[in-house]
């Protein structure tokens, strides 16, 4: 029986809604807003989301200070007649310093102020040029160029660029490669995990002596933190001293022991193997939970009807396990799709997956605008994967 919620009831869930909006919606929305700006923290003209003309007062005052400092050093070195010009310039710069010294780090910049500052910069350039011949060693002549250029960058215009970041994504080969790597890693690791996990779950489901011990041991790889297990695998794969690398070379799987950590194919294989080792128990555990709720009576009646083990598996176990499989696959696929820690520790970033690429862009290169686009693209892909799973595998699940 559905009925409309009363105000009083709504008040009870209000805290939940508030928490959801603060902790989920706000980060998502701010990530989206980053993607629309040329937002780079290593550039003072782009280190925030500027929607209107802004003045970087902190840098502007510092630059004025530098010019004053140069001019004061220069004044004793010029003729009496030229001193007035330089002193007048110093006074103007000092006035600017005083005007902005105590304001916020960045303030909004009206067109009139913009013109005033630009005029002052032009005047200083003019002075520097006019004295270049007469006094080639003056600081204002030799050193002011870069300072004046920097001063121009204090006049910040909006860095809103709309969808430009997205169009860059389309033509970015490295992004395409990262998508490819991520899908290869996800599909291969999850399918191998599903097969092995199923086998493991079927064994663990049998009532036999010592099953508790089997279940416990099987879970050990999953209990080890990923960073630690990645480090263990890193030693095992090492070209000079790694036992796994040596073993694979003996068996002829790889041509030389050092290839596992140095080549594109080798690192992909190594990362998948390490991931399979670690997460197969998790997959098995989820499937085991599904297996245990299947009614024993079904197996009894099928064996009375004369069904063999294969028929039993395909006709009873698989269909009844479908919902557990969907959950297990969905969890594992989304997990594998976002893989970061394993690869970051194992090879410091190869194969480059989407998470690694986004991390390198944002933290490594301080490019939050473009990095956020990669994250948003990942978000879209994750949503798509979840959608496909539910559509293909779980149509009836939703209906129930």
């Amino acid at each position: 029986m559905q009925r409309r919620m009363t105000w009083k009831e709504f008040c009870f869930i209000l805290p939940l809604l508030l928490l959801v909006s603060v902790f989920s919606l706000y980060p998502i929305l701010s990530s989206f807003s980053y993607t629309l700006f040329d937002y780079q923290t290593n550039n003072q003209a782009k280190n925030a989301l500027y929607t209107a003309a802004t003045l970087n007062t902190m840098l502007y005052v510092e630059d004025c200070d530098y010019l004053v400092y140069y001019l004061n050093k220069d004044i004793p070195n010029v003729d009496e007649s030229d001193r007035a010009t330089l002193t007048a310039l110093v006074d103007k710069l000092e006035a600017q310093k005083a005007a902005y010294a105590n304001s916020e780090k960045t303030i909004s910049l009206p067109a009139a102020t913009d013109q005033e500052i630009s005029a002052l910069i032009a005047e200083t350039e003019q002075v520097a040029q006019s004295y270049a011949e007469k006094y080639p060693t003056l600081r204002i002549v030799t050193k002011s160029g870069q300072i004046l250029d920097e001063m121009k960058t204090c006049l910040i215009s909006s860095n809103f660029i709309g969808l430009t970041n997205y169009s860059r994504l389309v033509s970015d080969d490295r992004f395409g490669q990262a998508v490819g790597n991520t899908f290869v890693f996800t599909i291969l690791s999850v399918s191998v995990e599903l097969l092995l996990g199923m086998a493991l779950a079927l064994i663990m489901n049998k009532a036999m002596r010592g099953i508790g011990l089997v279940r416990t041991t099987a879970l050990i790889p999953w209990a080890i933190p990923t960073a630690v297990s990645a480090l263990i695998w890193c030693y095992l794969y090492d070209g000079t001293s790694g036992i796994v690398a040596a073993l694979f070379t003996r068996l002829g799987i790889i041509a030389a022991p050092e290839l596992l950590l140095t080549t594109a194919g080798g690192t992909m294989f190594g990362a998948i193997l390490a991931d399979v080792w670690k997460t197969t128990p998790y997959m098995a555990l989820l499937l085991l939970a599904g297996l245990q709720v299947i009614d024993r009576g079904l197996y009894e009646s099928s064996s009375i009807d004369g069904a063999g083990p294969i028929r039993t598996f395909t006709s009873i176990t698989l269909p009844l396990l479908k919902s557990s499989m969907l959950v297990a696959l969905l969890f594992r696929t989304l997990d594998a799709f976002r893989v970061y820690d394993l690869i970051a520790v194992l090879t410091k970033g190869t194969p480059e997956t989407l998470s690694i690429y986004a991390y390198k862009m944002m933290i490594g290169q301080s490019n939050y605008g473009y990095g956020s686009v990669i994250v948003v693209a990942m978000f879209a892909m994750v949503a798509l994967i979840a959608f496909v799973y539910v559509k293909v595998l779980g149509a009836e699940l939703i209906q129930e």
Binding site: N43, E62, E258, T262, K348, G364, Q365
Partner: protein, 396 residues
């Protein structure tokens, strides 16, 4: 009565002043853990030398990539958590462009210090838009280590004088590999990380001969002159191989001299140092001041102390660090404590230093260079495409 009051007041005033003096301002110094006692000794010496400031060393992670992230996160948020910041030479451009650190020109001038008196490479890497942002912490440079008990005297003389090419070194590495208990010829850093950029910088003579330099680099990798897994070598593997006597030649930083002394199966008598054919990449660390610091004067006083004769002597004697103050390179006390500086090859290497590209987006440039060079070295890209990619990365 009035007199009594005056006396009481002045006593109170004196007491208050001494109380204020007794509590020096704390200045936080963010630097990596030091395996030598030098950094702590300099901090202690500075704290003992005056009463106004108390420098407190904040230990940072030894993984420099992680340290940069930790610093940028703190600085981006406008924190004044750290006053003095120790930076890898390649970070200064970015930190200055981001407005995280303070320009020092006026402080230098007031203190009567001259930029030209300090290590040129270190100072240049902290000069952005015409402003000087840093003073040296300790400079570092790439150099060639070789085994004097294996290499012939004639070849050794050529190496020390620096009158050899990479091709000569390749030939020598192939000849001497396997002699005197070694298993390989030349070890260097070719793994996919910053070290690859330092090495490629030297192979290509500061990017003047990209094609030739990378080709000879690949010849080392493909030939028997270098180990099969050289593409996985960082400084750690390099030092390990050389100090265990497994290789005849090694490209590494000055610290390897100390490793040979402390844990080598070979001794320093069997080793000499030479300049590299394409020049020595400058590395090391530099000091800057957080722009949001409330104790800039104290921070600068410490940096000045570290770069004074007294500070440099402590850094050299207790830590084996190279002096950042040029006149100390030839100072007798330093040469006495640092035997490397008495080597002709070492002094020669100091004369041929080259910088990595200086950029506000250095990590982007470095990343692009690594992505361009590594596939060629590991055999999955052609030289012409690689050269184009390297040029594009440098032009950025």
């Amino acid at each position: 009565m009035k007199k009594m009051l005056a006396i009481l007041l002045s006593v109170a005033l004196v007491l208050a002043t001494t109380a204020a003096l007794a509590e020096p301002v704390t200045v936080k110094f963010a630097a990596q853990a030091d395996s030598t006692p030098a950094t702590q000794a300099v901090v202690d010496a500075f704290n003992a030398s005056q009463t106004n400031y108390m420098v407190e060393w904040v230990d940072m992670t030894n993984d420099s990539g992680a340290m940069r992230e930790q610093l940028t996160t703190s600085l981006k948020a406008g924190s004044s958590e750290y006053d003095i910041i120790s930076m890898d030479v390649v970070w200064a451009g970015e930190f200055a462009a981001s407005g995280y650190i303070m320009p020092l020109d006026m402080m230098l001038d007031d203190a009567g210090l001259n930029v030209a008196d300090y290590n040129a490479g270190s100072m240049a890497s902290g000069n952005y838009n015409g402003k000087q942002y840093v003073l040296p912490f300790f400079p570092d440079l790439g150099m060639l280590y070789f085994r004097t008990d294996i290499v012939s005297q004639e070849d050794a003389a050529k190496l020390i004088a620096g009158t050899y090419t990479w091709a000569d070194l390749l030939a020598m590495a192939e000849t001497y590999a396997g002699q005197g208990g070694t298993t390989t010829g030349f070890v260097f850093q070719a793994a996919l990380y910053e070290g690859l950029v330092c090495n490629a910088n030297e192979f290509t003579s500061n990017w003047t001969d990209v094609k030739g330099g990378l080709e000879i680099m690949k010849q080392f990798i493909d030939s028997k002159a270098s180990p099969d897994n050289i593409l996985n070598y960082t400084e750690g593997e390099t030092a390990n191989s050389f100090v265990k006597g497994e290789s005849v030649f090694a490209r590494n930083w000055p610290y390897q001299w100390g490793v040979i002394k402390s844990e080598g199966t070979i001794t320093t008598d069997q080793v000499a140092v030479a300049p590299l054919p394409g020049g020595s990449t400058v590395g090391g660390w530099i000091l800057g001041i957080n722009k949001n610091s409330a104790n800039a004067e104290g921070a600068f006083a410490f940096m000045q102390f570290l770069n004074s004769e007294a500070g440099q002597l402590i850094m050299s004697e207790q830590g084996g660090y190279l002096p950042g103050l040029n006149k100390m390179l030839t100072d007798e006390r330093i040469i006495k404590s640092d035997d490397r500086l008495s080597m002709v090859g070492f002094q020669n290497a100091l004369k041929t230093t080259i910088a990595r590209p200086v950029s506000a987006e250095y990590s982007k440039v470095s990343d692009a260079l690594q992505q361009a060079i590594y596939p060629y070295l590991s055999g999955s890209a052609e030289i012409d495409a690689t050269v184009t990619a390297v040029q594009a990365a440098l032009a950025n």
